[in-house]
Every structure is written in C-alpha cells, then in structure tokens.
Amino acid sequence: MSKRKLPTQKGLSRRAFLKTTGAAVSAGVVSGAAAELLNAQSTAKNKVAGPGEVPITLRVNGETHNLNVEPRVTLLDALRDRLDLTGAKKVCDRGTCGTCTVLVDGKAAYACSMLAIDAQGREILTIEGLAPEGELHPISAAFVENDAQQCGFCTPGFVMACKAYLDRNPNPTEAQAKKALGGNLCRCGTYIGVRAAVLDAAARMKGGR
C-alpha cells in the first residue's frame, strides 16, 4: 500500500476508511488507468486529469473510437451517449441488476461500474457486436426460441452474461445455469426460459452453429 493519500472526503483518508471498515487491502484495489492517474498526480504535481474532458480511445466491437470524455464518465454512459450503442441499459447504475452487462476482454462486466477511461486498451463487446447485422448469434436465437424474454429490457444484458458464461463453461448443467445468471435481474420472471435458453445455446454452439 502506497503512502499516497487519495482525495479525502470529509477529512477521511482512504487509509483511515479502510482501517475503520476493516476491508482487506491489496495492491489490486487501485488498478488500471485510475492507478496511472494517481501516479501522474503524485509525480507531476498539480497535473490532474479532469474535471474537463480528456481524450480517450476505446475498442468497441472491433472498432476504434477516439472520444473526449470527462474522467467521471462511465463506460455505460460513453457507450450509450457517445457511441449510440443503446443495447446496454442504465437501470440501477450501481452494479446490481446486470442490465448494462458487456464483455471486457471476454469477461462479463457491469458497464455502469467501470469508468470509460479505465476501459482503454481493452476489447469491449456489446450486444450490437455479438453478430453481424441481420444475423442472430446462437445465444440470441436460443433466447428468441425459448421466449427467454418478455419486456426485453434486461435481455441484452442477459445475453451478454450468458455469452461470457458459456465461453467459460460450455457444458453447464441446469443447476449451474440457474446459479450462473444470478447477477442479472429480470422482473418479468423469465428465469426459467433463460435457463432453457442457456442449455439450448450450449448445445447449438457445440454443434458448431
């Protein structure tokens, strides 16, 4: 743990906060671009990124995008407001519902809980990039055919979470599928359809479809 202090809030340093809450401290607490930002702050005095816009580069669905965003802009807001990729939705905005799920370097991530500047240098896949225009990815086809969607608002997030999961575990059991998608909420209650779709998609993808 570095001795550097993070910007304090109400006089409470991060160190004091971590002490009081008893949270486990590891070198991984601050990572990626945020860490670089902090390094920049400590080495080059008074050089702070923001609050104004900073140039960033995002790789989304295989394309490179150069943007200017404020450092506080989340990946979700950058995708939706700047790139017009609106498949990922803003619902809880605090990493609970999974409706904003995208893949970051192949892993499912809540786009509402990641800063756009932190997503630089990583491959981001959204629902729009899952299959070529006019085609359905096998997972999407399985969702349609098993009617694993009603109002559809959580569906892109579910499909992306399902993709990350099946990439990791291509042969899930039903019990595993039931548990695996616990990070995504569906109020229409399509969970049973989703489970069927996961198993169906696994079978389709094995068949090379």
Binding site: T86, V144, Q149, G182, G189, Y191
Partner: protein, 751 residues
Amino acid sequence: MHPEPPLIGQAVPRKEGRDKVTGRARYVDDLVFPGMMYGATVRSPVARGRIRAIHFDENIPWQEFTVVTAQDIPGENCVALILHDQPCLAAEIVNHPEEPVVLLGHPDKHLLEEARRAVRLETEPLPAVFTIEDSLAKKEIIWGEDNVFKSFLVEKGDVDSAWARAEIVVEGEYETGAQEQLYIEPNGMIAVANPDEGVTVWGSMQCPYYVHKALVPLFGLSKDKVRVIQAETGGGFGGKEEYPSMIAAHAALLAWKAGRPVKLIYDRAEDMAATTKRHPSRTRHRTGVTRDGKLVALEIDFVIDGGAYCTLSPVVLSRGTIHAAGPYECPNVRIRSRAVATNAPPHGAFRGFGAPQSVFALERHFDQVAKACGLAPDEFRRRNFVHAGGTLAVSQVIHENVDLPQLMERAFAESDYHAKRARFARENRDARVKKGIGFAAFLHGAGFTGSGEEYLASVVAVEATAEGRVRVLAASTEIGQGANTVFTQIAADTLGLDPELIDIAPPDTAAVPNSGPTVASRTTMIVGKLVESAALGLKQTLVSSGLPGERGGPEGRPCTSEEFQRACAEYIRKHGALRATCQYAPPPGIKWDDEKYQGDAYGAYAWAVYVAEVSVDTVTYEIRVDDFVAVQEVGKVIHPVLATGQIEGGVAQGIGYALYENVVWREGRMVNAQMTNYIMPTSADVPPIRVFFEENPYPFGPGGAKGIGELPMDGPAPAIVNAIEQATGASITRIPVTPEVLMEALEGVHA
C-alpha cells in the same frame, strides 16, 4: 417455416422478439431529439407541510436553467384520473415525501443533478399520519372529512342472525406490505410542447389515453392538440398505469416553457421512492362454520393504505373487496372495505390490483378455520368451493362450468402433495431444515369490474392496404406480456392469413382508437375479442365486394394471400379505404348494481390452485421455495409459451411478495429505494415453476380465451406461508416473511 392455421393455441414466434434480443428495440431513454435538454424534479423533503419558500443556491448558473413551478401550469394543476385531487406540482401544501414541487431543465445532465441538490424547500411541518390504524382513528384529518377515499359494503344473506347457527367461529387478522413493481426499465418521457403545435410525448407507459386525459386539462388544450406515443416499454406490472401521466406532464411543462424537447428519465432511487407501489393492507376475518366444516357466515373487514392522494385506490379497493371471499360459496357474507389516506406517496396499480392482499388473508385464514374444524385444509376447501350455478359473495351466479376440485386434484397429483405432506410431517421433527407444502385456491376476474367495460366502451380498428397487408389499430400496449403476438394470432386466424401479413400499429393517440388501458387482465379477453370482431367485419366487407365466396367467405376455407390482396386492391380502388371498427358491447345477461355492489362483477373468472413447497432453516431463518406447481383454468390458451411465461413471471413476483420484498418506511418515505437493499428474486431464488392449464373455452373471449395476467400474483404468497406453517408450526399472518419475521414467529412457537 410458417405455422399452419389455426394459430390460436400455437406457440408462434414473439412479434418483437428479434428486436429485443439484439438490442435494436428503442426504449425512451434510447431516443435522442435534436436540441433536447434533460429534466429533473425537486421533491418534498417532508411528509406533510406548508411550503414557505423555495431557495436557489447562488453557486448554480440559474440563468441557464428552465425552472417550472405550479405557477407555470397553463391549465388545471392536477393529474386527472378518478378524482382530481393530486396536483401536478405542489403549490402551497405538500402531502407526502417526494411530492413534486419544482422542475428543472438543462442540457447538461451532471449540472442538472447538482442544481437539483441546490434547491432547498423551506417548509413548515404539519402533523402527519403513517399507518392504517392512525388514519382510521382520525389521529389527524389529512384528506377529506374522515381520511377515507372510498368504502364498500357487500352483503349477502343475513350475517348477524347466522352467527347463532355457527358451531365454530374463527377470527384472524392479516397484513400485507407494500411492494414495488420494479419494472426493469425506469420510468421516462420525452416531450415536445409549444402553444402553436400543442403537446406531444413519447415514453414508457401502459395507457396512452390515460396520459392523454391528464395532459388535456393541464394545458387547457383541445384533445386534438395533445398526442401521446408509447415507446418500447420495459415492463409495467401496473406501475406504468398512472404515474406516467405525472412524468409526461412534467416533461411537457418543461418543454412548453423552454421551447425545446425535454427528456425526463427517473433514476432507480427516484423511481422507487417517488412512484406508486402496491397498497399495504390489513384484513380482519370472522368466520362461522358448522362442526363438519360448512361455511355459515363470513365477515371481512378489509382496509388498504392509499397514500396521500386518491389516485386509483377506489378501484384497487373494489377488486380487493370482490376477491376477498374467494372462490367459495357462503350463504351469509358481509365485506366492509375502506381505502384510507396516509402521508406516503400514493399507492397504486400493481398486478392483482387489491386481490393479492385480500386473497392472502383469506387463504391463510381458511387454513386456520380448517384446523379449528379438525379438517385437512383441502377437505375444508372442497366442502365450500363454489360450483356452476352457485353464487359468490357479490351474489354473482356462476354460469361457467368451473371445477375447482378437479383443479385441486391435478395440482396435488403434479406436486405429490399428499405424500409429501405426510413425509414432511414425519421427517421434520428432528430436522434443522424443515420442509413444508401448502396451497391456495383462488379466482381472478378478467376485465374492468361491474359496468366498467361498458363505461370504457373500447374501440379497435383493423385496416388493410392495397398490397394486402393488415394493420391492427389499438391503444393497448405491448409491455412484454405478448399483446402484439396474441393480436396477430387472432387477426391472422380470423382472416385466414399468414401472420407475417399482420402489422400492429404503434400505440399513438393520433393514429389509433382508444381500446382502453392495458390493465386488469383485459387485453386478450376484451381487446382481443374486439380485434377478432373487427377482423371479421373486414372480411365480410371484402366478401360483399368480391372476395371469392367459396374460398374467402366467412364460413369458407381461408383465402390465399393473393386472393386477399386482389380483393383489398379492388375494394380500395372502388371505395378509397378499407377499415373495420368494433366497439365493446357487454355479453348478454350481464347485470351489475353499483349501489349494492351486487351482480356480475366480472364477465369471466380465471380459476386456480397453486402448490408451494418450501425449506425453512431453523437456525438461519432462511426460507427457500423448492418447487412450485400452478394449475389454472383460463379458458382457451391462445399462446401456450406466452401464457406459461405470464404464470411463471407472476409466480416469481409472488415469491418476492411473500418472502423478500420489504419496503422499509420512515415517516412516509421508502428508505431502501435501491435494487441493492430492496430484494427481488434472482434466478437463484426461483424454483422450477410447473405450469398446467385446464382449458374450458369462454364463449365471449377471442377463440375462447379469458384473462390471465394478474391471476398468478394472487396465489403464491398464501401457498408459501401455508407451507411455512406446515414446516414449522408457526402461524404467520403477515408478509413479507423476512428472516426477522420468521425468527419472531418461531421464538413464539418454541417459547
């Protein structure tokens, strides 16, 4: 590959399935208008008070903002619904926390949020009321003369003299908590408004014509100057029945003053804290039975907490009242019900609409009555079920061929109820995790209550183009339940056409007739029937003007799409346009007395028996639902997969209602207004839900269908809590049964 007709009864693809799964479907927050700014709402910090002043912090560049208060409203300051008691923006008095007072508009979302926090309302607090009992006791009069929005009295037979014949009398009191609809898509609207062109709004909603009705008096405009368009809508469950009118009004007021489009999207916390939830309830039962378990007298006192304004409480109360005595026959019944005011945000529509509350009380209570009679819960029900020709509490004679014992037997067979009940009773004694199985029997009326449908007088149109494409025009909204798919099936079957040729017009008050609100399990049964009738009218029109008689006649084989197209082109060439319209007319023999609250409350009922199996950990107080069987009779099932999805979804919400979904109140404010601390079921919490339909076609529904949407919300909570009682012996009388509630109950048992 196209499905062969008839499509009714088949699982055809969901109409909008591909757009949703690929993320192409555009919901309101996905839309961007040129020059658009964002809106935010400044809300009351107190439950009840007089507004003394509104302070604007100096650090905000207010000249860049559009600021709207009640003074800026061009017409009447109310959200028109049943009574016009709810202001659009509070002017002098606030009556609940989060009541809207000031609106702000700015192109920068982040600055807008800072500005919202920089407005301070100075209020002089007034005494407030937060509970049903305090409201009934008139601790403070906060609404009208007695805090009562509405009351009903249902009487059948003579309850007072019947007690003498009752050999056993059982009393009980039951409570249900508020429940947040928690549609995944937060509420939102975009408005374009100015005095020249009028007001147009796009947004997430169930009832475009309700929003229209609210905007007309607010702006003092003629009806044709107000236009409401539904965007793709991410769930409603009743939560987008009434409140969208408020949000549309706010977006439109900002747009009207700013002269540019305004997008107003609620974040999750605002949506949960400020908009409607299911009414909390308290029900008292007093039941008289003979020693052999026949009902002699039922006396029910049902009260719901309506929050600060009347809004939909009278109709929620009505449905809750009519369903309070369930699918049973009792000669002497008195149901007294009241909706009362408290200083909480108004409670409103949520799937089931009053029935889940009163059905919970009844089905929990009847397990207690059975016990008092020394009967098994199923045997007590069997002796009292209503049969064809019998009468419900509102004196409605049941003409449907209902067979509740058969539904119950099927539910028991599918769930292995009897064997499991015996085994759990044996094995629970020494187990830390105790198991239980319980059930509930219930009914749910489809469509508006009493003369409601006649009053609505819904209209649907079906038109065809010269190219032979058919468009269904209705204001009924697709909110995930599958309305567009079901309408397509009905129209395609009636016209004998490929479903690919059927389009559903987007709900837009400038383009579609008023087919009524998308609520009350009425869309398939009532509006679907109008689609069928209008499509039939279209077909008959074409026959009279040359559609091949033998192949295309109403009684003939379906025509080919080429023949249909030729006939459409011919008709349109001669007459200009091809359109058929149908308006609702009640089925013959329906009679309802609004004064006495007696008669045919609903044209048809769905009937059901649900069985829940639970595990209760007596150390951690966790409860899990392990298995769920839902057997119901809903007339003809039009789309087996969509219908099953409706049941599964309702059961999932019912599991949340029973066990997890706890709205924590502090002085009228929901304090756990986030998805992190208001817990709804995830995939991991939902057991296999096994859904079975018994089909008994209803002659006045399209293809024989009745309503289905709300039914599955009514049964799960009592079935689950009945199962908890079998597992633990604890007779719990309120939901949600959180671990804390269970702990309290079990400590009572062990003591």
